[in-house]
Amino acid sequence: MLSPYIPMLTTIKSIVSENGVNDIKTYELVFKNKEDEEKFDYIPGQFAEISLIGKGECPIGIASSPTEKGSIKFTIKKMGTVTSAIHNCEVGDIIGVRGPLGNGWPIEELKGKNIIVIGGGFAFSTLRSLVYYMLHEDNRANFKDITVIYGNRNCSEILYQDDLMKWERMEDIDVALTIDCAEEGWDGRVGFVAPIVEAVSPSPENAVAIVCGPPIMIKTTEDVLDKLNFQPEQILESLEMRMKCGIGKCGRCNIGEKFVCIDGPVFSQAELRKMHGDR
C-alpha cells in the first residue's frame, strides 16, 4: 500500500507571473517519474496538496486541464509560509504533489448542457481548467453553449490573459470580461460580476451555472441567478477551507458531517443549503 501522505516529485518547468503586483504566479510542473504522471489522472475542479519539501504543504486547485498532456499547472497566490516559499522558487526546483484530490466538477452531469462559467478574481484557476477541457476538440461536442463571465478589480489582475484572448476570438464560446472601475484602454465591460451576469442574462433552460469567487461575489451572483430562475441544483460552487491531509483524516475542513476535501470541494447550492456547519 503506497502511503497517501507521500508526495510525488515534480520539477518546475515554467513560472508565469499572472498579475501586476506579481503575487500570483502560475507554476507549470513536470513529474519526475513518468508513472506518476499516469497516476495523476484528474478532472477539472480537483485539487492537489502542493509541497515544498522542508517548508510544508498546502491545497491548491489544478489550473491545467487533463487535455494538456505532459505537465500540470497551479496558480498560486503568495499568502502564507508555504506559498511565500514557493514564490521564491525558480525553474528547475522540486515541488511535491499529492493528488488528485476532491470530487471536481461533475463532468458527466454537465454534458449536454449550456454551461455558464462565472468567476471573480483569483478564483478562476479550476474554471480555466474546466473551460480548457470543454473547448478541447474531443470534448466540445459534449457541451452546448459555453459562456464565461469573469470579473476583476482592474485589468492588471486578470489571470490567464493569453487564454482569454484566444477564447474571445473563438466562435463557440461567449466571453464577457469585466473590471470594477473604468480604466484607460479598457474596452470591455465595467462593473461587478453580479450586475454583468444580470446584463448577460443567461437562460436557466438546460443550463448549469458554475460560480467561483470571493464570498461577496458569490452571494450577489447567487441572488441574480435566483432572479433569473436558476434552481439551487443548477448552481455549482467550489469551496475552500483550511486543510492538512486532503484525504479526510486530519479533521479540520468539515462543514457539518461533510469534509470539503473528500466530499467537495464542489457542491451544488442545493447541497450547501442542506449543510449545517461552520464555514
Partner: protein, 356 residues
Amino acid sequence: MKEKILKKDQVKQLHEDLSRYYSFYAPTKVKGNIVFKKITNPEDIELEYLNSKIPPKEILFPRMETLFSYKIDEKNIEIEPRTDLEEKILIFGVRPCDAYSFSLLETFFNFGQFKDDLFMKKKENTVVIGLACNTPRATCFCTSLDYNGHPHRKDDVDIFLTDLGENYLVNPISETGKAIIDKLAWLSEANNDDLQKAEELSKKAESLISTKLDLQHTAEILDPSFNHPLWKEVSENCLGCGTCTFLCPTCTCFDVVEDVDHYNNRGKRVRIWDTCQFCLYTLETSGHNPRNTKIERCRNRVLHKFNYYPKNYDLIGCVGCGRCIHLCPVNNDLREIIKKINAIKNENKKEEVVVA
C-alpha cells in the same frame, strides 16, 4: 478452547515469553500517571489501575509520528517512506472501552478512497490482551453506548483477562489469541469456580456504572439543533485547553508540520495531535476562521461524536470511558451535555403541541 489461569506472579513469565516475539506494551506508572509504555522490565507493569490517563491509542496513533523522511541534496530530493511499520505489537492490559476504540479507529482510518496506511499496518500487526474493568470510575458510561459497551466486553481483544484476586482468568477470544495461549503451555486450567467468580465480577462491575444515558435519538435531535442556545450555555466555562480531545480514545485530528535538520540536509514530515478546541485549528491564511469562538468549537466536538460519526460511519464516536469528564479542569460533563441535548427533544415536542 478452555479458559486458563494466569497467576499474578506469572505475569513476569508471560512478559518474558511474549516479548520475544512482540514489542510488549503495558500500563505503567510515569510521574504518578498510568500510561501505556513499551515494557522491558516486567516489574514496571501496573495492573491495579482504573484506567490510563492517556489512552492506549497513543501506541497506534502517536502524539507525534513521522509520515516520511527526506534527504535534500542540492536540488535533488530523496523521499524515504517509513520502514518500521512491520513491528509486531502486543498491548497488554487494555480496558474494554479502549479496546473498542481500536476497532472504531480502524473504521475511521480505513474509510473511503484513501486509507491511512500507517495506522492500518500497525493495527494489522497488533495483538490486544484486554483486562476486565472490575471497578469502573464514577465517570464511566460505556454501558450507554451503541457498541454494547460493558466493563467485561470481550469482543475487541485477542485474549481477555479478568482479575479474580489472586489470579487472572484467561479467555482466548480470537484465533491469534488462541494460538498464543497454546504456546503458553505453563498456564493452568481454570475451574468452574473461577468462571463463576468472573461472572459475578462482571455483574457487579455493570451495577457499579450508575450513569445510564439514552443515546438512541441523540443524533437525530442534534440534526435541527445547530443554532440552539444550548451551545452557548455549554461552552461558557470552557477554557479551550483541549484536554477532552487530546485524551479522548476516539479523537484522531492531527496537524502536519516539517521537522527539518538543516545541518544534515535531512528532514521529516510529521503529524502531531491537534484539536478542534483550538482556534488556530481552522484559522485560514486569509484571516477567516470558520470556528472563531468557543461556541462553534464546543459544538463541533459534540456534533462530531454524536451526529457526524453516526452519519458517516454508522456508529457513535464515543466509547464512554469518561476521560473527558474526570480530566476536564472546569468539570464540564459530557453526560450533562447529552442530557441537555436529549431534553431538546421534549422542548421540540412541547412546541409542536403548542403549534398544533
